[in-house]
Amino acid sequence: MQNNYAYIALFATIGVAFTVATMWVSWVVRPTHKRTGSKAEPYECGELPIGNAWRQFKAGYYIFALLFVVFDVEVAFIFPWARVLRDMKSAGLGLFAFFEMMVFIAILLVGLAYAWRKGVLKWD
């Protein structure tokens, strides 16, 4: 089991090293230009941006992130449940465990239904 973690560490190390190496190479190879005029634009050949990037966003984004968080936390509970469902079935508790999770999901779906009903899911 410790060996698998060594793979994770190796993977993370290679990932970080690749990113750093790529940025280093591009830093070495690229010609130096003064960042003036169109060079200083975010998109050199694209549309000119209007205003600052730190502008105020709609509150609707927050509610979508909120619903995502809730169903993301739900995964943390569903995953171990799915892992043991077969064991519970062989112990004669299969239906029980299944309906427990259905209740759990149903309670969370009430929250989604509330959001829908309040109209915050509408993207206008």
Partner: protein, 188 residues
Amino acid sequence: MPFDLHSINLFDMGKQFVFTLTLQKISFLAVAFMTFASAVAVVTMKNIFHSLLFLVLTFLGVAGIYLLLSADFLAAVQVLVYIGAITVLIMFALMLTSKLMAKRVSQTMEQWIVALPVTLGILVVLIRLVVLNPWGMKAAPAGPTTGIIGTSLMTKYLLPFELASIVLLVAVVGAILLAKEDKSDDPS
């Protein structure tokens, strides 16, 4: 290694540290240093968006600590929920309250002169407790954790499990009520 007097104790810990620095301890020290350094960056950065980015690094370090404690499932949950969801939520909230990004708004209190002794006092108490208490526990070899967690959730912790969904439901309803844009008084 006996722990009786803490002056000797620290010295002993130092000696042990020099002599038995295994690969596991090296990885712990590396991960712990990364976690601590990025946590300090979280609380000291001038730009709050930068401290959010360092918060991601701190969460990643804590996930690494979970892996060292062979809590494989919790490490995955840490990455999934904290890095994948809560950080995104905080990021959206930062973007929604965008005047924070203005340079003239100061992010830190000037009361750090008071806060630092308080923090260090609590730290000294906690570290003394950790060092002086004879824990005397040895870690047994541990296997995969997901199955054990699932069985406990379905049997012994069934009621907290269902209550967790109700807590999440209440959180969703409350947060939607608070964050919903009122069409009547908000012309923009």
